[in-house]
Symmetry: C2
Subunit: 568 residues, 2 copies
């Protein structure tokens, strides 16, 4: 028996008193899961309940109970199938219900499948053998990386086999001249980040879930994240992929070339296809050189108009060293303070900005940042701020002296910018932005939206929704990647309610469509948003997507019920 | 009757004494073009010959005569078809053979079709009507932009209808905050470049053919070019496309969002598909802010090992302001000197480098470049060099004084870098690199290869091929985008010879495949390289490409004989 992979985020949540966690003491409480869960309570593969260890959130409902969804006529995993899998990946067939629970429930704890078996291949050949078998047997498969997705895309809806990439975690090669990394799909992003940093490069993407998410999952969901503004989309930085198709064919597009115009760029089909067209087993990705100087400024703004003006000023003055421009509203700050006990480094404001520079010259970058800050503080666009330049091991670095908040210099002279204005580490400033998701999860059930909008209308939906929901919501918050036109809109409530869902959807999608926005900027559609696809894509496009799915996965065994709308 | 679009490059070539040009005085010399040219010499759509105006290169052979290729069973354009087209695009149906000649022959003058009709739609609705009709009638269509392609992809092979985007040249919108440009496919790149520069942005791509090439063609061929190193692939910068499918369906993926993860990213199918899956009619593209400071250095290097070391040093010291790192060998310089009478700004060297910086601070960039130059000149990696900082209207700018070559300061002090070391405009330095293609074309018939290789092996193929060809070739030259691992390998000879072609191919492709390189880095496969696809892509991938083609264009009417290998 092997240990089941537990995402770091999950551990973090479960470690919090008042949360649900699996237990082996309550195995007797197994109950049938309805027609969608063949095998039922009596079989060896029965779904088991979680035990409630305190008065916190309720048990996660089965997806098939919460949402109107019908199981498709896939085969049911039999004892013969398990034996066949054991032959393919000996010792790496997980059937223990307790271990399976971690992979059946998504990180947000709002979607829950009842898979009876999880497979842990180590090689693409093993993945190929598994899929060839499943294809022949008409068994449905859910590929799973770090299970950190936010739209229910990485967990089964019914009893799909979970195909975990957790043991496919080897770096194949790294070219320290070109910065091209080739690795298996199950490498954890943070591990890769550390690995390439040791060789003076950085990964071109970074996101809050980095400690758990797999690079294969990042690519499969076309993850955006915190470095998108600087290094662009994975569609540009991913150079090659190895993918196993639904019938077990291994498609080798694992080149490591910056330019390759030979035929259709097949890897693009799989980037962002959420495991519905093939299972990504290896990735080749271009890593930019590690910046020699990184500065982070955390600023307070009196209104959203000032946020937008600060962004324009920032782009003009920081130019090529600007690497992040994130924003969060006052309610976000309240939640991270309340649930995570993080302190705000600046005085209370309507909006907060995190501006990061990454460059090759400490002096030049500091001068650029200093001039920018002088400009925005002097003009009143920004009312308060703090900066950090070094890594987060300590709260201060050798060149900075610890200063109390009251010692902050609000309007430093351009040339004397870094003389006495640093009290926070970069990590501490970034934590305020990166841990908002965690704070929201601790606030209650979260309805999450992730939309792209024209930047000038980016925040309008938040007050609109506050007015619409009134006291039905605990909090309606907005934050995100302003530089990319990407708003994360979140609504927290005591518990899931279909009535509130009906108030939110399709309202949020229609509002977004009215601005020609995207109803999923970077999270994907997964299970929860698949039927909203039509708000961002015209019927001809949806039809072509369905044709592509039929071409590549004619039996529909790969991550069913995800991404594409329910067909009539 | 409308004027046929003449690419600027073509005009340039034809203006050169000794080149072939069309004439109306020799129309009597019309001769039958064989079975692939239905209608023959006697019909109103007959192909006509070019007249030889001097003793220079021979007439362009028909592609069907030069290469072993069989016409597929498409219908032949009838008088009824012409009447139908006249109804769809009144006054924009070109049938005059002389005008058609320009669009039947490719820019390199090595491929020649015998199309009898060229259509010039103005809107995507017109394109849709044309394609719906052609699809029903089983008429083959070659989409054509600026006809600047280098692999015979933009001209008909037989009598395919030419669908020109030349009149689809309107800018739809430009957002001066986000830098997002939306325009029709037929906009000329240079025109767009000027347009966005007036609003303080730049196009994310630039290439030698900018004066003629259309943005739709750039996207359809996934053009790389001179800014790839800085702004990356069109796969990242193109935000949306409108495409008309083979059956006339208008596929609207013309969003203007930086992030959009709703369903499969269909536009990626059409980027780089060379007009074989659909006709791109509109493009939405992200333009970066215009750099405030641009510097160009032109350097001489004693060997390729020094070129590589200079690149490493450059990337480390110039960091985020590095925007181009191009190289050319000594034979390239000889050819631009001989055929274009351009002077070298530096002493004779084995290799020449063009290094460009683009940044937001004149002072910072100059200091970075100065320190880099001091380093590489001081260490002997570079033996001579010159720099330019301003636009090419004049040879000198207000801040620089004209200096004679002997006044160049070979090793300037870092801080005094720009005190007396500028004699060349940026345009003049760039011309040395950008006009190599033109110089090669004036040298004779050119066998062109465009390969991606591991950067440390980038130049090895050139001396290898020189030894292999010996006196069979006039010149074997290598140049290209070193920063992208992209070598342009060119062989000039007196005239095309099948024997030499057999010596070159598949040798060059096999050599490249041996390094796991790409046999087409940025030019595409077009007509000439389609059968070499297997050197860079495995059989499963080629098979999937053929399935995609069959899905999107079941009758195969879109740009037939291009990109995909001849099927048995």
């Amino acid at each position: 028996m092997v240990l089941c992979h537990v995402p770091r985020w999950s551990v973090r949540l479960w470690a919090c008193p008042g949360w649900w966690r699996p237990t082996s003491t309550l195995r007797a409480l197994v109950r049938p899961r309805g027609p969608g869960c063949p095998g039922g309570a009596s079989g060896p593969l029965a779904c088991r309940m979680f035990s409630k260890v305190s008065s916190c959130p309720p048990e996660v409902m089965l997806t098939q109970e919460r949402y109107p969804v019908q199981r498709l006529p896939f085969s049911v995993v039999s004892e013969e199938d398990l034996a066949a899998f054991e032959h393919m990946v000996p010792g790496r067939v997980v059937t223990d219900p307790e271990e399976l629970e971690v992979s059946n429930v998504d990180w947000l704890r709002t979607a829950r499948g009842c898979s009876k078996v999880l497979l842990r291949p180590r090689t693409s050949e093993e993945v190929s053998r598994i899929l060839r078998y499943c294809h022949e047997r008409n068994l449905a498969v859910t590929p799973q990386g770090g299970n950190t997705g936010l739209v229910g895309g990485s967990v089964p809806v019914f009893d799909e086999i979970i195909l975990s990439t957790a043991l496919m975690n080897q770096v194949t090669s790294f070219n320290s001249v070109s910065g091209i990394l080739t690795c298996q799909a199950g490498c954890v992003l943070e591990g890769l980040s550390r690995y390439v940093q040791e060789q003076d490069f950085v990964m071109p993407l970074d996101l809050g879930a980095k400690g758990s998410c797999h690079i294969g999952g990042n690519v499969a969901t076309n993850a955006g994240g915190l470095r998108f503004l600087r290094y662009g989309s994975l569609r540009g930085t991913v150079l090659g992929l190895e993918v196993v198709l639904a019938d077990g064919t291994v498609l080798d597009c694992l080149t490591s070339l910056r330019k390759d115009n030979t035929g259709y760029d097949l890897k693009q089909l799989f980037i962002g296809s959420e495991g519905t067209l093939g299972v990504i087993t290896a990735v080749s990705i271009l890593c930019p050189p590690r910046p020699k100087a990184v500065n982070v400024a955390f600023l307070g703004c009196p209104g959203f108009a000032e946020v937008l003006q600060t962004f324009s000023t920032c782009r003009g003055m920081l130019g090529e060293v600007l690497s992040a421009f994130e924003f969060m509203d006052a309610e976000c700050m309240q939640l991270v303070q309340q649930h995570l006990h993080l302190a705000s480094p600046v005085q209370e404001s309507a909006f907060y900005l995190l501006v990061e520079t990454s460059g090759s010259s400490t002096g030049h970058d500091a001068e650029k940042l200093g001039c920018f800050l002088e400009q925005v503080l002097g003009s009143g666009l920004v009312t308060d701020g703090t900066v950090a330049t070094d890594e987060s091991k300590a709260q201060v670095d050798a060149r900075a002296r610890l200063v109390m908040p009251e010692q902050r210099v609000p309007v430093p002279a351009c040339s004397r910018m870094f003389q006495g204005w640093r009290a926070w580490s970069r990590g501490a400033l970034w934590a305020l932005r990166e841990r908002i998701t965690e704070a929201l999860s601790r606030d209650g059930y979260v309805y999450k939206y992730d939309v792209s909008l024209p930047v000038e209308r980016l925040y309008d939906l938040v007050p609109d929704l506050r007015a619409r929901l009134g006291s039905q919501a605990r909090h309606v918050v907005g934050y995100g990647h302003l530089g990319d036109g990407n708003l994360h809109l979140n609504v927290t409530v005591d518990a899931f309610s279909t009535a509130l869902l009906d108030t939110l959807e399709p309202y949020v999608y229609a509002w977004t469509a009215g601005q020609r926005g995207s109803i999923s900027a970077e999270h994907g559609l997964g299970f929860r948003k698949r039927d909203a696809l039509g708000y961002s894509k015209p019927p001809h496009a949806v039809q072509l997507m369905q044709q592509l799915k039929a071409l590549l996965d004619p039996k529909g065994i790969l991550n069913p019920y995800k991404m594409l709308p329910t067909q009539a």
